[in-house]
Each structure stands twice: as structure tokens, then as C-alpha cells.
């Protein structure tokens, strides 16, 4: 896991977690995200297991958005959703989960839609416009709650 705090005043997405096993891709997401200036802190997890450890720990800082890969060795993205929504330790009510995957399989999209947590579905590669889309979703979620 790596973290970096940006010096911007109030970023649109204060804390973003990316769960993806592809290391090069993680590095490239980070560069893209930093260029947009939309994100305060980016947490990179190379497996669903690592991410679960983080979210189940009471000391961990809350996360606003999770970008979640589906096909990963070990636990898949769906396994992560399954465990995260049943684990009592995980507080996920205010989190936007966006599936991030190469998968072109419509059945994956259907499956993702069954989870209330999942707000969007992005086909890789991640692009600047995706992050803008996500930050708008986050604004929408916050105004709903307000």
C-alpha cells in the first residue's frame, strides 16, 4: 500500500482506493490521478485481501471512492464486495464503488449492478473523464445526504 497526500485545499475526492493486481497499471493510475488534481490521497492495493485488511482495521482512515478490478488472483473483485458487505468491521455506507475492469462480459455488468455499493462500471483504461464522472457522483451522494 502506498499513500501520498496532495497539498490542494479541498480535493473533489478526498480519499480514493484502487484495488488492482496490475502493478504497472497502479503506477499509471496514480500519475493520471495526480495530474487531474481531483484526488487528495490515493491508496493502492494490489489484492482484495490487502484491501480487506485495511477496511477491517478500526484505525484506517475512511475512503470516499473505491476503484475495484474484477479479475484478480486470489479473491476477485466480486469476492471483495461479498466479504466487504458481510464483514461487520467494514463501514461502507458512504463509499462509492466503481468497478474497473477489462471485462467486456455483459454478465459481469449485470452482476455488478446487483450490489447497491456499486455506482458505476468503467472499462479500462482509466481516463481523466472517468475521474470527473466519479467526483460528480460523489457530489450527488453528498447532496442526497445533506
Amino acid at each position: 500500500m502506498s499513500a501520498q497526500t496532495q497539498t490542494n485545499s479541498v480535493p473533489m475526492i478526498p480519499r480514493l482506493a484502487i484495488i488492482d493486481d496490475a502493478e504497472f497499471d497502479q503506477m499509471l493510475y496514480k500519475r493520471l490521478i495526480d495530474r487531474t488534481g481531483l484526488v487528495g490521497e490515493t491508496l493502492a492495493f494490489l489484492s482484495a485481501e490487502e484491501a480487506l485488511d485495511y477496511f477491517e482495521s478500526p484505525d484506517s482512515a475512511p475512503v470516499d471512492v473505491i476503484l475495484l478490478d474484477i479479475n484478480m488472483p486470489g479473491l476477485s473483485g466480486f469476492d471483495f464486495l461479498e466479504r466487504a458487505s458481510t464483514s461487520t468491521g467494514c463501514q461502507f455506507t458512504d463509499v462509492i464503488v466503481v468497478m474497473l475492469t477489462t471485462s467486456l462480459d455483459p454478465s459481469d455488468v449485470e452482476r455488478a449492478k446487483k450490489y447497491d455499493l456499486v455506482r458505476d462500471y468503467i472499462n479500462k483504461p482509466l481516463e481523466t473523464q472517468h475521474l470527473q464522472q466519479i467526483s460528480e457522483l460523489l457530489i450527488g451522494l453528498h447532496s442526497e445526504q445533506a
Binding site: 496490475a22 504497472f24 500519475r31 489484492s47 477489462t102 479500462k124 483504461p125 482509466l126
Partner: protein
């Protein structure tokens, strides 16, 4: 048989055959039809329904000597498939009631040797002035060859549909797994453009290195896929394969990896099996390469390949290693195409190798079982058909 003492006249001919011959004025044409166009003829006395003459050709079709027959309908009714007898009876009743309803069906008969003979059976009732059916004249056509061809075609269609489904699934997973490195390269190129714009050549150098690595992984994946596709739909001839010689060749191919890892590989003696040499070679190469690769840091691989006799004319072959092992819950999915248990930074892999091994095992009538070895590593176990040895001549 009713009114007649015997249905056979003085010359030994059945009275219905006689009558039929008289009925057909052009006897030569009739003989041509009977011998050249039909496989059987029957003529039924509906006023005396226990009498039904059936031609010698029909009985020959079922491997039965016509001289043993009494020309009683129960003789064929005992040999016809019960379902087909019901269809024939229904059509018979309907045809007697209404001449427009055809008496025409394909039925199954049991040949004297137990095999099935498919016969198309057609008939026309001959009616008295008031329309009452009094006789019925019918024909038989042997359609067994057609039916068998139809069955074969249906079976082949099922096989083709299955292969097509498999190919579709394969194409889907392939496009999926090839798109992943393509995406990475696209993002790397975008980053290079940014680096170029800011004149950061050091960064370009760094990104180029990553692009080269990604491209190499993609090339390896394509090579692996080509290996795998060679297995799809090929039905190669099985021959005697000397496993000891084959494994010596495999070890030679892997020499660089074996030397680099300091692996100890002990083989056999394994003897010979019946199989496809190049497929078995690829399977063992993948299994040994895996045993070398999936090794804990600092460990030195120790690999044994051993063969023992197994029941049902087979040889059990086991590849044992002292590597990191496979957790019980993962032992099934490691054989799925593109399935990976580890991320690339831990263990590089395309997710094709074991899927390929599984195909080879299946092509040799086996599955691959996985269990833990004594050292906590893995044992891959499969069976191969023993070579059929001809008995020595006395």
C-alpha cells in the same frame, strides 16, 4: 387360418402369393420391382387376418430363413420395436377407416444378430365394392444406412456445437487477456507523451522499460496461446512413446531454467506409454517449469517424476516438487484457462500452462489430480494408457 385346412397349395406355394402373382399381370415388371426396387413385399388377408404372406427378401433383411416362417403376422409383430408396432397399428386402423390416411412409417426391427434394422413400411388396402378392406398390399424399404448416417450427423453436430462453444469461450477469454497488456501499453504511451512534452527524457526511458516488459509478457502470452490452440480439435494418432527419452528431451529444453535455479530433477524409470509424443512433451515441460517457478524465495527446487502400474491397463505418472504448494480450495481452478493464483510481481505466468496440461491429460483419457507432497509442495498425478503389446508367437 379359419376356413382353409392349409394355406399352402400342392406346389408348396402360399395361396396368397399365388393370388398376388395372378393379380400382377406383368410378372417380369413385378419381379423387377420386388428384387430391384424393394427390400420386401407383404400381402395381408384382412378377412383372415392371421394370414399375411411376407416375401423371402423381407426375412433375409432380418437374417431369417423364410422357410421357417408360417406367414402369420405375429411373426413380424414379435420382432418390431413395441413403440413402432403401436404407430403402425394406429396407422393401419386409420387407413382402413379412411383411404386418404396413409399407411406409411419407418419402424425398427430386431435382426437375428441383435442389431437394429430400420425399415420404411408402406401399404394400401384393397377394398370390396362396399369399401370394406379385404386385402392389404405393402412394401418394405431398408433405410438402415440412412438412419445410421442421420444418427452420425446428429452426433457430429453435437460435437461441432460443443467445439464451437468452447472456441467462443476461448476467444472471449483470449481477447480479455490480450486487452489487458494493450491497455497498459496505451497508458504508458500517454505517459510518454506527457514526459515528452515536459522534456523529461529520464522518465521516457523509465516508461520505455515498462513498455518493453509489458510487450514481452504479451508476446509470451501469444506464444502460449498458440501452443494451446494447437490442442483444440486435433485428434492425433496415439503411438508408443518412450517416456524416459521424452523427459530427457524436456529436461534439455529447460536446461537454462534448471541451471539457474539449481533444480534437482530425478526421472523414472518411466517406461513407455501409448500417446501423442508432442502433447505429452508439452505437458511435462509445463509441469516441470511450474515446479521450478513456484518455489519459495531462496529454496532450491527438487523435482521427481515417477511411474507406477495402475489398473485398467494404465500407467500412473506423478510429478512431485518441494515448492510453495497449492491450497486445497485452489486445486480445481488452477486448470482453468487464464486462471492465476499469484500476482505477476510474485510469480510470472500466463494462466495457460496448466489448462494446456489438463487438455493433454484429457486427450489421453485422464484427469490431473493435485495433492500436497510430503515437503509441502505439490504432486501432480495423472494416468496414461499402457502400450498394447502383442502376445508373443509360440
Amino acid at each position: 387360418m379359419g376356413a382353409l385346412a392349409t394355406p399352402f397349395s400342392g406346389d408348396g406355394r402360399h395361396y396368397l402369393e399365388q393370388e398376388l402373382d395372378e393379380l400382377v399381370q406383368q410378372k417380369k415388371i413385378w419381379q423387377f420391382l420386388r428384387g430391384g426396387s424393394l427390400d420386401g413385399v407383404w400381402y395381408w388377408d384382412l378377412e383372415e387376418p392371421d394370414n399375411e404372406w411376407m416375401s423371402p427378401e423381407f426375412w433375409a433383411l432380418l437374417g431369417i430363413d423364410h422357410r421357417s416362417r408360417r406367414h402369420d403376422p405375429s411373426e413380424w409383430q414379435d420382432l418390431i420395436h413395441p413403440d413402432d408396432l403401436q404407430t403402425a397399428t394406429e396407422n393401419f386402423v386409420a387407413h382402413c377407416d379412411d383411404p386418404k390416411h396413409p399407411y406409411d412409417q419407418i419402424v425398427r426391427y430386431r435382426h437375428a444378430d441383435g442389431s437394429t434394422v430400420w425399415v420404411r413400411c408402406r401399404g394400401l388396402a384393397i377394398r370390396s365394392r362396399d369399401g370394406t378392406p379385404i386385402r392389404m398390399l405393402g412394401t418394405h424399404n431398408d433405410v438402415t444406412a440412412l438412419k445410421l448416417a442421420e444418427e452420425r450427423a446428429l452426433h457430429d453436430r453435437g460435437v461441432a456445437a460443443h467445439a464451437n462453444e468452447e472456441l467462443q469461450a476461448f476467444a472471449y477469454s483470449t481477447s480479455h487477456d490480450l486487452k489487458s497488456p494493450a491497455n497498459t501499453i496505451r497508458m504508458l504511451l500517454q505517459e510518454m507523451r506527457h514526459a515528452l512534452n515536459s522534456g523529461d527524457f529520464e522518465d521516457i526511458e523509465f516508461l520505455l522499460g515498462k513498455a518493453e516488459t509489458t510487450n514481452e509478457a504479451m508476446r509470451t502470452l501469444v506464444d502460449k496461446l498458440l501452443e494451446y490452440t494447437r490442442m483444440i480439435g486435433t485428434e492425433s494418432q496415439h503411438e508408443a512413446v518412450d517416456l524416459d527419452a521424452l523427459l530427457a528431451e524436456v529436461v534439455q529444453n529447460l536446461e537454462a531454467d534448471i541451471t539457474a535455479s539449481g533444480a534437482q530433477v530425478s526421472i523414472g524409470p518411466l517406461g513407455s506409454v501409448s500417446g501423442v509424443a508432442w502433447q505429452l512433451g508439452q505437458m511435462f515441460q509445463n509441469l516441470i517449469a511450474n515446479a521450478i517457478k513456484f518455489q519459495s524465495a531462496g529454496g532450491s527446487p527438487s523435482i521427481q517424476i515417477a511411474a507406477t502400474q495402475a489398473p485398467a491397463g494404465r500407467v500412473k505418472v506423478e510429478v512431485t516438487d518441494n515448492g510453495i504448494g497449492v491450497a486445497p480450495e485452489d486445486r480445481k481452478r488452477i486448470f482453468e484457462l487464464f486462471s492465476k493464483l499469484h500476482r505477476p510481481s510474485a510469480y510470472q505466468g500466463s494462466g495457460v500452462g496448466l489448462a494446456l496440461c489438463n487438455r493433454v491429460a484429457r486427450a489421453h483419457g485422464s484427469t490431473i489430480d493435485v495433492r500436497a507432497s510430503e515437503s509441502g509442495g505439490t504432486v501432480f498425478s495423472l494416468s496414461l494408457p499402457r502400450v498394447q503389446t502383442k502376445p508373443k508367437e509360440q
